[in-house]
Amino acid sequence: MDLNDTPELAEYRIKVRAWLEEHKHAAPPSRGDDDASVAARRAWQKRLAEGGLAAVTWPAEYGGSGLGPLQQVVVNQEIGRAGVPGIFDIIGVGMLGPTLIAHGSEDQKQRLLGPMLTADEVWCQLFSEPAAGSDLAGVQTRATRQDDGSWRLSGQKVWTTNAQHAAFGLLLARTSPDLPKHKGLTMFVIPMDAAGVTVRPLRQISGEAHFNEVFFDDVHLEPGSEVGPVDGGWGVGMTTLMFERVTIGLGGEGFGWRADRFAHALLADEACTRDPETRHRFGELATEFLALRFTGYRMLTSLQRGAIPGAEGALAKVTTIKAAIAAGDLICDVLGPAGLSDERFGELVSDMPGLKSAGGTEEILRNMVGERVLGLPPEPRLDKGVPFSELRAKEKALA
């Protein structure tokens, strides 16, 4: 067991640190949703990309550094150490880019990945719908093939982060309603400036609008907009979700959710640090954050040995959210009502109820781990093998 850098990794760390030292004067603040802040953070991503720090694990032929997960961790650590923001388009570079690399056509990769990396084109993920979240395969947004091979698209998506900034989206749509629901889906690339696309912000508990509803009214998609096979979209989507869970489950430290930072917050009222109940609560939640850090090292070790991220990332996500809820709660109990509008911790409280469902609700993740890791039998399903077009009638008949 060894957490030290190998000589090569230590050398890489020195290079990364030197680059950040030289360029950090140009870094914008990490927060802020106004246009100027977003523009500054996109410009910063471009700089990081030029420095080779934006897509560490992407293959070199698509503009990445072609390195492994350990180098990615070094970059994350050094960015944290330098006190500068990371990339702006985490969803694009962290989840959708890798999906395109795995399933996209060569033309798509050549056209799309470069500007994604530099944030000249921001991306959004168009999977969930009002009636298809946990049961994602129930998406109803409909893509119909035209005689010339193009597509017409109609429907609605929701919980779409960065849709208001996005040039493109990766969209899951139903292409064959007469097939059972997992089988009739196709993944598409959609230009967000296409006629018939409407983006409407959704404000969250905190008052900020981090995500949107997106409407599609008879949108025209060029031939070749599909990613992966027609009616093979479910498998493509699974790739994205796998990256999403790892990003949320092991990204907590990047958001500043760390035991040491919360300890610092408690010092705001020194007497609280002697209160047994506060100490007990803090000891318990801090232990969960420590467990996450070292679960991360264990996962990295197996990734580095060639394993594919599996269902374990889902458990890390459950722990992350549980611990972050406990931390927000405790800090606000210590700070009193003022904590709820505290610049550092107010959003921690407000964002958690929503984040509990993001990237898979806790209940769905527990189902997944129970079935895939523990080998437990699934819940009996009423939709297996039923053509999607008949499902609604079946649901109504049962009600």
Partner: protein
């Protein structure tokens, strides 16, 4: 970076599992509740070299690390094996560090047995070295050492009955060596017969001061925390496997109970506790070796996580099995008893939670 067990460490675990499989320790644990004699596992431990795990090679030991000791304890915990190493390992560690070569060689060879008489190191709020009281939560001062003699009492000392050597941490944080026969040891084993406990009274027992480096007696406390945690990890693993197997085979309303979310999610919660505990076990093992400053934090966090997860797992195993799980027909009550007693020993899981908070708050104060 590499945060996984080495081939040698995997082999050590396998060998331990193999050695322990020669005796049905779980059946013995049940019989012991009715007064049956426990099998003597000491010869197996000696054959495997466990008594000398933490003793330097120069003194006849294996000179392995806390991580290896935890891996052995994980295997002991799986099968509720009653081997008096929770007392012996920290005691032999301290005697070895003090250079008590003659005694240590006999301990490493398993010819004699030592028990660590624990005292909790001071916290950020409480000065002084304290011991678990025989009843209540109010901690008592550790025994006092003066003029070559020890006075005081310590309750719930693991593996004290029958130990030839006692390594006693005294109220100023030093440690002394006392012959077992010079102390009054009252057997205090209860509830879990596989866990030998004793209340000890020192009434002027002759004692030899051990020449230790600062931090050694505190390290012994945290080794104890780590070993208790590791034992829990093994037990959770067994409880989870038994519960999953039962949830697949037991049917109600025409389907396996493991298909119901209420049952499935409880089993996943057992897995989550196990997985987090295992990560912290590696953290504690790594810190003991490579980052001693963090060992108090790591060992305490591990002990807390594993103790809580074991408590949950022991209860969940009973619920998943229904009524039979709460009877002596099943092994579940044996694991439950182990969990309930363990979480209250050596300062308790609550004490570990407080320690985690204290360590992190101290670091934050220093950084501020």
């Amino acid at each position: 970076m590499n945060f996984a067990l080495s081939d040698e460490q995997e082999f050590l675990k396998e060998a331990a599992r193999g050695a322990l499989s020669r005796v049905n320790t779980v059946a013995a644990a049940r019989e012991a509740l009715d007064g049956g004699a426990l099998p003597d596992l000491w010869p197996i431990a000696v054959e495997a070299g466990w008594p000398g795990l933490l003793v330097s090679e120069a003194n006849g030991g294996a000179e392995l690390s806390v991580l290896e000791a935890m891996l052995v304890f994980e295997e002991l915990g799986r099968v509720l094996a009653s081997v008096p190493l929770l007392g012996h390992l920290p005691a032999s560690f301290l005697l070895d560090r003090a250079g008590a070569a003659a005694v240590v060689a006999s301990l490493a060879a398993g010819e004699s047995r030592a028990a660590y008489v624990p005292a909790r190191p001071p916290t950020d709020l409480a000065d002084g070295w304290t011991v678990d009281p025989s009843i209540g939560l109010t901690r008592a001062s550790a025994p006092a050492f003066a003029g070559g003699r020890v006075h005081g009492t310590v309750a719930w000392v693991p593996d004290a009955p029958g130990a030839e050597h006692l390594v006693v941490v005294v109220d100023d944080g030093r440690a002394v060596h006392v012959q077992g026969e010079d102390a009054s040891v009252q057997a205090a084993t209860l509830y879990d017969e596989t866990r030998a406990l004793g209340h000890i009274t020192f009434d002027g027992a002759p004692a030899t001061l051990l020449a230790l480096a600062p931090g050694d007696t505190a390290a012994a406390w945290y080794i104890g925390q780590a070993l208790l945690g590791a034992e829990a990890v093994g037990a959770i693993d067994v409880a989870l496997a038994a519960s999953v197997a039962y949830a697949k085979e037991r049917h109600t309303f025409g389907r396996a109970i493991g298909s119901y979310q209420a049952v499935k999610h409880e089993l996943v919660e057992m897995l989550r506790g196990l997985d987090n505990s295992r990560s912290l076990m590696y953290y504690a093992g790594w810190a003991a070796q490579d980052k001693p400053d963090e060992f108090p934090l790591a060992a305490s966090a591990f002990r807390l996580a594993a103790g809580k997860a074991f408590d949950h797992a022991a209860r969940a195993q009973i619920s998943v099995h229904g009524g039979i799980g709460a009877t002596w027909e099943h092994d579940a009550p044996l694991y439950f008893r182990r969990a309930q007693l363990s979480r209250r020993l050596l300062g308790g899981t609550a004490g570990a939670a407080d320690r985690v908070a204290g360590e992190l708050l101290t670091a934050a104060r220093q950084a501020a």
